[in-house]
């Protein structure tokens, strides 16, 4: 039976992933800021087969609270076989362009809080000498694009941090997975006009995450074709790229 901590557990992608582990009979520990919704999710996961489900309130930007929260989770589960970090916000780029506070807030929620969590979790997992740390970054971090470069910057920081941390944790037998979803049909993208064929379902992304954790994949592009889309975008000469409005 796997012991799994999910941070940002009310996220659509996280919930879909939790359902797969619940069906497998896992022990789940869920953290999220909306505790009413978290309660509903916990009851659902229990009925879907989770051996146990515990919950705790969590505010990503209250960095000082993290250590205590993680320790309680570790005590409750006994060990961390898998930790998934999923919280995030997709702010409005246009607003951030004229509002520094918004920019800082986006960086804070999407980069700083995640990096702070990873730092603390890494030390605990290093001692365990086992387990997987799975972090949801984004294809948006692969190259800054005019439509969302503030969010992209935060995700780039997370991706780079993961890269270094992976090489460190590898030596203590801890696996680190960087998850880079493309466009996913979740509340984060609700109301946006996105091309239907590129839009993945959270369930589809969740399946890919579970497989990647099992196979100890380093970097997951999901759905898979985003690896090739991003390859094209990364290798586009700047002289061309800057003229596009991607």
């Amino acid at each position: 039976m796997q012991n799994i901590l999910i941070i940002g557990a009310t996220s659509a992608i996280a919930e879909a992933t939790a359902r797969l582990y619940a069906a497998d009979g896992a022990n789940l520990y869920l953290m999220a800021r909306n505790e009413d919704r978290l309660k509903i999710i916990a009851a659902d996961l229990k009925i879907r087969g989770a051996a146990s489900v515990a919950t705790a309130g969590f505010e990503a930007n209250d960095l000082d609270s993290h250590q205590n929260l993680i320790e309680r989770a570790h005590k409750s589960l006994g060990s961390f076989d898998i930790v998934l970090i999923a919280h995030g916000t997709l702010g409005i780029q246009k607003v951030a362009e004229s509002d520094i506070e918004e920019t800082i807030r986006e960086l804070q929620t999407n980069a700083m809080s995640t990096i702070a969590l990873m730092t603390r979790l890494a030390n605990m997992m290093e001692k365990q000498r086992q387990g997987t740390l799975a972090i949801i970054s984004s294809v948006a971090g692969d190259r800054g694009r005019p439509s969302n470069y503030v969010y992209g910057t935060a995700k780039a920081a997370v991706t780079t941090f993961c890269e270094g941390l992976r090489a460190r944790l590898c030596k203590s037998n801890v696996h680190l997975l960087t998850i880079k979803p493309g466009m996913v049909d979740s509340p984060m993208t609700a109301g946006m006009e996105l091309p239907g064929i590129l839009l993945a379902k959270p369930e589809q992304v969740a399946k890919a995450i579970v497989t990647a954790i099992k196979k100890k994949t380093d970097v997951l592009y999901t759905p898979w074709f985003w690896r090739f889309i991003m390859l094209g975008i990364i290798h586009m000469p700047t002289s061309v790229f800057k003229k596009l409005s991607l």
Binding site: A12, N34, D36, R37, I40, I41, A43, D44, I47, R48, G49, P187, A190
Partner: protein, 434 residues
């Protein structure tokens, strides 16, 4: 975005909202004044789940509580019957009533008060609903049942989403020992024999007939009647949900008279003996069409409609031959023609089933179709029958009113609970149910 029902007719431009919590729905009330349409998995055929502002229950998909001793399941309205089966069949529980597809939501099953092959003994879906929670407006989420707010309960069950948004419900599952069904298929050579078979097998837990809607003359109304019951042997494995897709819109020419004729003849002659017994998994027994993804595209780009009517039992022997003959003579009969004998009517104001005989068949949308369906409406009306709302995309307000005499009480109730105008659909507007 463009939205449509299962029949892919009509298509309308709608704004789709996918609230995740009651709070989200309540926030929508502040921005949306023109009326909202709840929507589940869009398996209703016509325009019942269409409107300018659609409230999808996609994210209201949580199980809330399950009592393993009584089988009482409390869940949110967006949970699908397929999810319930996948999780609970292995634990020895089955749906008390199921329609011919498992890809419908609990909310949709309640709003249409759906029936299954066991209507004659088990009634409708809502006869197994212990209670439901309905959201009327930001201040009011009301729990109703046959004992609490019974007026609201009986209007909401079968009320096509016009009384409010169902948020959650408690349903009584029924115990089974096996995921398999012991099925017997009987052959009937004409309509008379078909109707007799229903009477002979009135005690069978499940029964339905596939009826030939192409062949007339002495063989008019020939059919295969399938009866079944949950087996006591066999494992409790849930369905495979293994599905194949239809690649493109199939040209509607494929559905011409001859291909249908070939299909029906083949189907009928497959059975050589008078009755054949088999042991089949519940999926092919209840959901034969679910194995083909998007089979609704088979009727081509213009879409199709399913015409389902019921006539009262005492009128049945007179009505069925004339109506069926009209269908056969028109030569537009479908692939799917399902006949069933309904049991007693329940107390829900707009529930479709009344004691009698029902027939459901698909028609490809084409201009000549509408006059034919109007003629059928008139015949159904003359025999005291009615047409099923969840399949309808074209009946007139007067056909609706003559079939559902309690519609005035339904409207009064909507007024009393301030649902008039707040919850509406393309269909309700078309039927004059503002």
């Amino acid at each position: 975005m463009n939205m449509q029902g299962w029949g892919r007719y009509p298509v309308i431009d709608a704004e789709v909202h996918t609230p995740g919590t009651k709070e989200d729905i309540q926030a929508l009330f502040d921005t949306t004044a023109v009326g909202m349409t709840p929507r589940g998995l869009g398996r209703s055929y016509g325009d019942s789940a269409l409107g300018d502002h659609i409230l999808s229950t996609k994210r209201l998909n949580h199980f809330l509580e399950f009592d393993a001793t009584t089988g009482l399941l409390h869940c949110e309205a967006g949970i699908s019957l397929s999810e319930i089966l996948t999780l609970f069949v292995p634990k020895g529980w089955f749906l008390p009533v199921t329609p011919g597809t498992q890809f419908v939501t609990v909310g949709g099953a309640i709003a249409s008060d759906v029936h299954g092959k066991n209507h004659h003994v088990a009634g409708c879906f809502c006869d197994h609903v212990e209670h439901l929670d309905i959201l009327l407006d930001p201040e009011r989420i009301i729990r109703c049942s046959p004992y609490q707010h019974p007026d609201l309960f009986h209007a909401t069950c079968g009320g096509m989403g016009l009384t409010g948004m169902i948020i959650a419900a408690a349903i009584r599952l029924k115990p089974i020992q096996s995921a398999f069904i012991d099925q017997t298929t009987f052959k009937a050579r004409n309509l008379e024999e078909s109707l007799n078979l229903f009477e002979i097998h009135a005690a069978a837990p499940y029964s339905v007939a596939w009826i030939d809607c192409i062949t007339g003359g002495p063989s008019l109304g020939r059919s295969l009647l399938m009866t079944g019951d949950h087996a006591t042997k066999g494992s409790l494995i849930p369905g495979k949900n293994a599905r194949i897709g239809l690649p493109l819109d199939m040209p509607s020419i494929l559905l011409n008279r001859y291909s249908i004729l070939a299909f029906n003849t083949l189907y009928y002659h497959r059975i050589r003996k008078v009755s054949v017994q088999s042991h089949v998994h519940y999926e092919p027994f209840f959901y034969p069409l679910d194995s083909i993804n998007d089979w609704n595209r088979m009727y081509g780009k213009n879409g199709f409609t399913q015409y389902q009517f019921v006539v009262p039992k005492d009128a049945g022997r007179k009505a069925m031959p004339v109506i069926l003959k009209t269908i056969v003579d028109a030569g537009k009969g479908s692939f799917l023609a399902v006949m069933k004998a309904f049991g007693k009517q329940n107390n829900n104001l707009l529930s479709f089933p009344i004691e009698g005989y029902t027939l459901a068949l698909d028609f490809k949308i084409e201009p000549e179709l509408f006059p034919l369906l109007d003629r059928l409406d008139a015949m159904v009306h003359d025999h005291g029958g009615r047409v099923y709302l969840t399949k309808d995309s074209r009946m007139s307000p007067s056909t609706f009113r003559s079939g559902y005499k309690t519609w005035t009480r339904f409207q009064e109730l909507r007024m009393n609970y301030s649902a008039l105008g707040r919850f509406r659909s393309h269909q309700s507007t078309r039927l004059g149910l503002e």
